[in-house]
Structure formats: structure tokens, C-alpha cells
Amino acid sequence: MDKWLKVALFRNPKGLVGTIILSYFALMALSHPILMAWFWNREIYHPMVGFDPDIVPHPTFPSIQHPLGTDSFGRDILSQLLYGAGTSLGVGFTSGLVASILAVAVGVASAYFRGKVETLLMGLCDVVILLPPPIILLIIGLLVDMHWPVLALFYGILAGLGTPAVIIKTWAQSVTVKGFVETAKLAGGNDLYIIRRHILPYILPAGFLFMMFTASGSVLTEAFLSFFGRTRIRMSWGSMIWFTQLTFYWSAEGPQWHALFPPALAIIAFCSAFYLLSKAVEEALDPMVRRFA
């Protein structure tokens, strides 16, 4: 592991908090299948079709059987929350990876090769910048079934080819004009070797930075699309909030605040973790910031 990554993930206090929150969510996502397989009765605790027949009026407030209560259909909220963690992690990391790989590839290629390649790729980026990913995903949702990998893939492409590619290009440009790249060219290194050996090490941290931005953006977008019912994702934090606000007063015990807060706080914590990690990466890269912040 590179030094800057180690510093950002574990040494920096902000980064450490981010890492802890993310690993906590990863544990939540992992624990769901285990709980379902051995500890929870599938018919009661299933996140989509579960129902607890022992409790008569649903929704219920938190109790021992249901630590976070149940929603209006009698489904366990904790089970939904754990299941939704898996969806969010999947969306976040897939789209982050796709976006950062694309942005680095496009940015470095156009900075290194210049000329026609640059004109073509930057023209593409100029167009993609004008397509806000969530709105385009609304339209793509009419075209294909929006399961989470599809959503993550399209979000990654649209988000990565936009502003990140342009910014990474300017970073890469400042590397390509350095003396050691010229020297490597004169020494007869071929293009791929020079890019891999001399340019990428300087650009990868920026790619990681945009991975964090994209990840939190994609999780919010997934929640937004699920909230407005434009995905085929059967259970996620966004659809939990949607269902709760739809059935907010369907209860004898008053409004269902207990069902509204867990998914919303989970989204806030999840995206804050990515934000903290991106801050940590920035600080690890820029000693000036680390010294004074």
C-alpha cells in the first residue's frame, strides 16, 4: 500500500473516523445474510416480504424482538437497514471505481498524447459535463431495468467523464511537462511505460479523491432515484424513506418518526465517511494543509 494511502486511511484522525464508519457499514452489510441464515426467522425478518404475526397493530415502536421497530407492512426496520447497507456499499464502490478509472484514463491520455486525442476526449467531457447524472439516470431508468450495478455503472461513467476528467487532465499536464518525462522519452521508454512508471504515481491520489466524491454522490443519487420510485432496487435506504413518508400517519400511535430516522441518519453517516476520507487524502497529499488544519 502506498504511503499516502496508509496515512490517509489510518493515521489522519479524519480519515480514521471515515474508515471506522465505512468498516462499520461493511460489518452491517455482512451481518445481514448471517443473521438471516441462522438467527432470524426468514418469514418474520425478511427485509422485503417479512411480517410478524405476533404483534397485532403494525407499525410498532422499538422492542426486544424488533430493535428499531417495524414499518406499516410489519417488516423489521433493522433488517431493512442492514440490507440497505449492502446496496449502498455496492453502489458507492462500483461507481467510484468506474468513475476514477475512466477519469484517470481520459485525463492522462489527453494530457500525454495532446493534439487530436486531447481535442476528442475533452470534447466528449465538455458534453458529458452538461448531462447531470441523476437526471440522465431518470431517463435511462425508462430504458433499462435499474438494478444497482446498472445504476452504479451509468453513474460512474457520467460522473467520471465530467469534471473529474478535466481536473485530472490539468494535474497530469503539470506532470508531463516535467524534466523526467522528457528524459524517459529520450531514453527510449515507450508511451505505456512512461505513463505507468512516471505519470500515474502522481495522478492516482487524485483518482482516489474523485472516487470518494463519486461514491457519496452515487449513494445520494441512488437514494434519490429510489425515493422517487425510478429504480428496480427492492430495498435501499432511499426506498425506506419513501415508504415511511408515504405511510407516515398509518399508525394508531402517531407519526412514525422511529422509521424515518434510521435510514436518513445512515445516509448522512455514510456520505460523511466518504467526505472525511476525501479530506484525509487531500491533507495527506498537501503537507501545507496538514500542517495548519
Binding site: 470534447g123 465538455d126 441523476p134 431517463i139 425515493f227 460523511s272 479530506k279
Partner: protein, 381 residues
């Protein structure tokens, strides 16, 4: 500088052309069309309707018609509102979106910059107040907008009944009013922009005046604008719109100020150790002068490029808020157009979004080139 602006506009024009083509292809790849969403029509009628709306033409013909229309300012007719052209539907909705977006963006920036500067200077050890403000900003930056909107509606509109939760006007006030709400909104927007620029300009001009004189001048200026509204006869209608605007505006500001505050804080921290700050302190300048005059000016420069990253999200945020609060702006139209596959309206809305983004990018590029002469040399595309 003139050369730079000229090339930037040529690039923007080519981009706009490619963007329109992409949109056209994307939207025409959708399965079905507007007619297929009308369930229960007899097939003969459907065929006639397709011919009438021009949906039976080959794709390349529709493409040429669309492009010719777009660049001559004719966006076609909406299927949903057959009496109106898309352009007039959009022009009716645009003031509503801008009235939400522009004041909210400016307020979020002012609030974020002010808080960020306050937190960063004078430098002090971490206090619980600072930590909680920072935590709130991080949470606001990463909170889920529909949830925030829903909470505001539940608490302020339904529980406390302070503000209305829906639409942009209350019906009983507008029954025998001839002027449309869009027109009033345009004037409100204009007076907001005049007030903002005037406030800023007075601050610049009266920098060396006494504090009381400065404040008095600003109050006088704002009172003049207020009086102008009182005598216009629309003041009650404008107040009604403001009352309806309160919740959407709050939701948008609360979710966007956080990022700006955090960025300002970081860039102030970076500059804090520079020599000119030490010199300013050694000269004995008060903290507020160092903060606003010396540090603040430089610290806001890197924020400009972040605005480019943030603007699409701001626009989307205002769309989501329109949907949540039934505020009939461009975002509301967008959802309507997607639901009914109203192709001209959808193309029009997306083009408008694209144009707004493009204009913001061009403005930003020109401002940056004006500030940083090195950028003027590097013309690509």
C-alpha cells in the same frame, strides 16, 4: 482576453451542438412514445395522433427538424399543453426556478463564506462550538434532500402551521389578480439581484467610512427598494410568494452551505502561515481586517473552481425541492415530461438545464482567465 472569449464561445457552440445530438439520440432510444402512454385510445386515433405530432417521420428527419428548430429558438409544441409552445412553457417556469435557485445559492455562499472565515480566524484551539458547527456542516453536506424537505414540512408546515407546504401562491389572494405570478417573480428576482449588488457595492465604496454611516447607508438603500415595492401595488402578492418560498429556500440553503463553509475553512487554514499574514499582524491590524481583507480574498479564489463541481448538484437540488414542495418550476416540468414521455418538453427542459450549466461554465472560465492571466495562453479545443 478578447481572443480567449472568442475561442471559448466557439467551443461552447460546438459543445452545444454535440449535446443536442446526444440528447436527441438518448431520448429517441426510449421505448414507446407519448401516444403509447395514452391508454385506451383506438388504434386509428393513435395513428392519426402520431401523424399530427410528427412522430411517424423517420428519425433523421425528426433530427433535422429538431436541430433547425433549436437553433432558431423554436423548441416545438408540448404534447401535454397543446396550446402552448415549449419555449413559452419553459419561460413561464424558469422565473420560479431562478427565484428559488439564485437567492438560495447566494445566501448559501454568503453564509458559508462568513462562517468559514469566522471559524478559521482568529486561530484558536478547537472549541465545542467550532466542532459542532463543523459537524453540522459535514452532516448538511451529506444529508438526503427529500428527507430534509419532508422534515421541514412535517415540523414547520403541518405541526406548527407557520408556512405552507405546497405550491407557490395561495389561491384566495390571487382570485381576481390579472398579473401572472411569473411576472411578479421576475421583478422580485431583479430587485433581489439589485439589492445584493447594491449592498456589496456600498460596502466597497464606504470602506473607509464610519461604521454607523455605512450601516445607515445600507439601511437607506434597502428601505428604498422596499418602498418601491410598497408603491407598486404588488406588495401583498410578493409577500405571499415569499411566504411560500420560505420552506423550499430553507431546505436548499441548509443542504448547500456546508460544503462552502468547509472549503473556505480549509483554504483559510492553508494560507494562515503565509508571510503576509504575519506582516499584517505585526503591523497591528485588527483581526477582522486580516480575516476579511488579507486572508479572505485569497481564500475565496480556489472556491471558484469548486463551484463548477457543485453547480449541477445545486440545480438538481432545486429540482428535487420543486418536486417535494410542488413548486411549479423547471424541475417540476422535467418530472412531468419524463412521466408522460412528452418528448419536446423533455428535450426543452434538458436543453435549458444544459444551457444553464454551459453559461455557468463559460462565466467561470472567463472570470478565472481574468483573474489568472496564465490561463489565457492555454487555449485548447
Amino acid at each position: 482576453m478578447g481572443r480567449y472569449i472568442f475561442y471559448r464561445f466557439i467551443r461552447a457552440f460546438i459543445t452545444l451542438f454535440l449535446f443536442q445530438t446526444t440528447l436527441f439520440l438518448l431520448i429517441h432510444a426510449l421505448p414507446g412514445d407519448f401516444v403509447s402512454t395514452a391508454v385506451g385510445l383506438p388504434p386509428v386515433w393513435k395513428k392519426a395522433l402520431r401523424v399530427y405530432l410528427g412522430l411517424n417521420l423517420p428519425l433523421w428527419k425528426q433530427y433535422i427538424l429538431w436541430m433547425r428548430g433549436f437553433f432558431s429558438g423554436n423548441l416545438g409544441r408540448s404534447f401535454l399543453f397543446p396550446r402552448l409552445s415549449v419555449l413559452s412553457v419553459l419561460l413561464m417556469a424558469l422565473p420560479k426556478t431562478l427565484l428559488l435557485l439564485v437567492p438560495a445559492t447566494i445566501s448559501a455562499w454568503v453564509l458559508g463564506l462568513w462562517l468559514g472565515k469566522r471559524l478559521a480566524w482568529p486561530p484558536k484551539k478547537s472549541s465545542p462550538v467550532n466542532a459542532s458547527i463543523t459537524a453540522f456542516a459535514v452532516a448538511s453536506h451529506s444529508s438526503f434532500l427529500p428527507w430534509v424537505a419532508f422534515m421541514l414540512i412535517q415540523i414547520l408546515a403541518i405541526r406548527l402551521r407557520w408556512f405552507p407546504a405546497q405550491s407557490e401562491t395561495s389561491l384566495e389572494l390571487w382570485t381576481d389578480v390579472t398579473v401572472s405570478s411569473s411576472d411578479i417573480m421576475v421583478w422580485m428576482l431583479v430587485s433581489f439581484i439589485i439589492a445584493t449588488i447594491g449592498w456589496w457595492a456600498i460596502g466597497q465604496k464606504t470602506y473607509r467610512w464610519r461604521r454607523a454611516a455605512r450601516v445607515a447607508f445600507k439601511v437607506f438603500f434597502l428601505t428604498a427598494i422596499g418602498l418601491a415595492w410598497c408603491f407598486s401595488g404588488w406588495s401583498r402578492l410578493a409577500l405571499d410568494i415569499l411566504w411560500h418560498l420560505a420552506l423550499p429556500f430553507t431546505a436548499l440553503v441548509v443542504t448547500t452551505f456546508g460544503e462552502i463553509m468547509l472549503l473556505t475553512h480549509t483554504s483559510m487554514n492553508v494560507l494562515r502561515g503565509e508571510d503576509f499574514v504575519l506582516l499584517a499582524r505585526a503591523k497591528g491590524l485588527p483581526d477582522s481586517r486580516i480575516r476579511n481583507g488579507h486572508l479572505g480574498r485569497l481564500a475565496t479564489l480556489p472556491l471558484l473552481s469548486r463551484f463548477m463541481l457543485q453547480f449541477p448538484f445545486l440545480l438538481l437540488g432545486s429540482f428535487v425541492i420543486e418536486k417535494m414542495f410542488f413548486w411549479p418550476g423547471v424541475g417540476f416540468l422535467l418530472f412531468l415530461a419524463i412521466d408522460y414521455q412528452d418528448v419536446p418538453l423533455l428535450m426543452g427542459t434538458l436543453s435549458l438545464t444544459g444551457i444553464l450549466l454551459l453559461v455557468s461554465h463559460i462565466t467561470l472560465d472567463i472570470i478565472q482567465a481574468w483573474i489568472d492571466p496564465r490561463l489565457r495562453e492555454k487555449i485548447h479545443g
